[in-house]
Symmetry: C2
């Protein structure tokens, strides 16, 4: 089978054997936002050498701006619920093949404000069999970080934090960027930890953000260190407000899913706050789609 | 005397009589950022008809990016302290006249992260005589909202919240703007109050920001109402984290200084949270400079 993880800004294509092992993979920066709506034409050359009949797709490709909009499935849901909502789509560009879009998941119960995800539910699906008993917390950091609670193998709630996007817009478009170097690749552990400590103060994120400016203004952190300080500050706020510390019993660990650099920063934060972590790779989406495909076959 | 309130994005010129009454005033959008460093040439035509010998200036015009950089004065400070730090400057473009730049104020004691202001201290100076006894809280909402604590007529601490700038960058540059109408001028009281209530939830600002998106996505607030929701959310976070509610005794009222529309929103928030307000106009800077000029004369 073929598994396509197609988000706003990137496209990852995986070919898996029947046992669920990734045998080939390709990557493109033609995310949903960069396709001008030509989804079939974007996908075709990428998987031209792969003749598998079933093509599973997850992520923003199933959104209103994507190829075929899939309604959100409500929490609680799991592998069987998601699979039951999926119907095969045939398109002229891929004759005699079936496209299966994984729906996104909505949480309309946890608070009066709904929450949603598209793509992350598929990554979670790769772990649901392992989390069949008890309550577990998954964190998928990114532009919009997702905190997913799994209970007895089902996704029961979602909370999204706009951490990555807030970092990016404050860095690029606010006064904070003026005192920062252009290089984002250097991680300054001392500055990150200082931002993390600052996030414990009750005086609020909006005030702490201004502190990023004054610390630069008074030379307490260099241009090169300030991006790490801002990162520690924001991730600290996200993690502290995640509800992790108000749960009884407090989860002993958090499952972290994402790219290595982000996971490093979140693991550092969680460990500093006394919480264990279990790390998983970004490629989990491919395994989640394989797991869903097995459920589809069983159901058909 | 002439009083110039010269910030990053605007310039206000006032002519006052010896009693401190504003007799004429002019306004320009040639803020410090829009002058290309030609400060004398920008100011000259604006005050061409005014022949007063003393020209007082406050705001970003005294910053590193301004005309003559003035070092920050440290808290606690007041009218006498600020006046003592001011020295007359003569420039060839204004012969036989004296320019007096009001220094900014820094707070390096309240927390390990310093805080600063330039311009707001001058607005505060207009009120310091009235606040000669006891502890008082001033709030000057804006791009960078300032919360100033005055004790026995002196500025003792400063806390800045990046509320206005966070609103602007999230609105213009983040995904949140996509679901909002272009019109910012319409105030939707219902949406503002909903954002304000949401800010009481412990799940954190970064999470609440994503809720602005989902509320739009699920049609719970219209394009036209979402900007007010975001505004209520951010102002709610700012006010709740301002320390107002953790002080003993809690101040019975907050002095609000700024433009009418912003003051309306902050007054609405404070009153909803059970705190009284006293409103002051933006023109307070002119009166603050007049008060400082009297102190300069007494000292000379």
């Amino acid at each position: 089978m073929i598994a396509i993880d197609w988000g706003s800004s990137s496209l990852r294509a995986y070919r898996l054997d029947t046992a669920g092992v990734v045998v080939e993979q390709k990557r493109s920066d033609r995310g949903v936002q960069a396709c001008d709506g030509n989804f079939a034409a974007t996908l075709a050359p990428l998987i031209a050498d792969w003749n598998d009949a079933d093509i599973m797709l997850c992520g923003m490709i199933g959104s209103r701006d994507g190829w075929f909009e899939q309604p959100y499935q409500d929490c609680p849901t799991g592998i069987d619920g998601l699979a039951a909502a999926m119907v095969p789509v045939e398109v002229p560009e891929f004759p005699r093949r079936r496209l299966w879009f994984v729906p996104g998941v909505a949480d309309r119960n946890s608070t009066e404000v709904p929450d949603v995800m598209r793509g992350e539910e598929t990554q979670a699906c790769a772990l649901l069999d392992l989390l069949r008993q008890g309550t577990h917390l998954l964190c998928l950091p990114g532009t919009h970080s997702k905190w997913i609670t799994v209970r007895d193998g089902k996704i029961v709630s979602i909370a999204t934090a706009m951490t990555g996007e807030t970092y990016a817009v404050m860095r690029r478009h606010s006064v904070l960027g003026k005192l920062m170097g252009k290089d984002d690749s250097r991680f300054d552990a001392y500055a990150f930890d200082a931002g993390l400590r600052r996030s414990a103060d009750a005086s609020g994120l909006l005030h702490h953000l201004f502190g990023v400016r004054t610390l630069g203004l008074f030379g307490q952190f260099s241009e090169a260190a300030l991006p790490s300080y801002l990162s520690g500050l924001l991730i600290g706020h996200e993690v502290r407000a995640s509800g992790l510390f108000s749960r009884t019993p407090r989860p002993a660990q958090v499952h972290l899913i994402g790219n290595e650099r982000l996971i490093d920063a979140y693991a550092r934060t969680l460990v500093a706050l006394g919480v264990g972590v279990q790390r998983h790779s970004e490629n989990l989406a491919a395994h989640g789609m394989h797991r869903l495909s097995k459920a589809l076959i069983l159901a058909s």
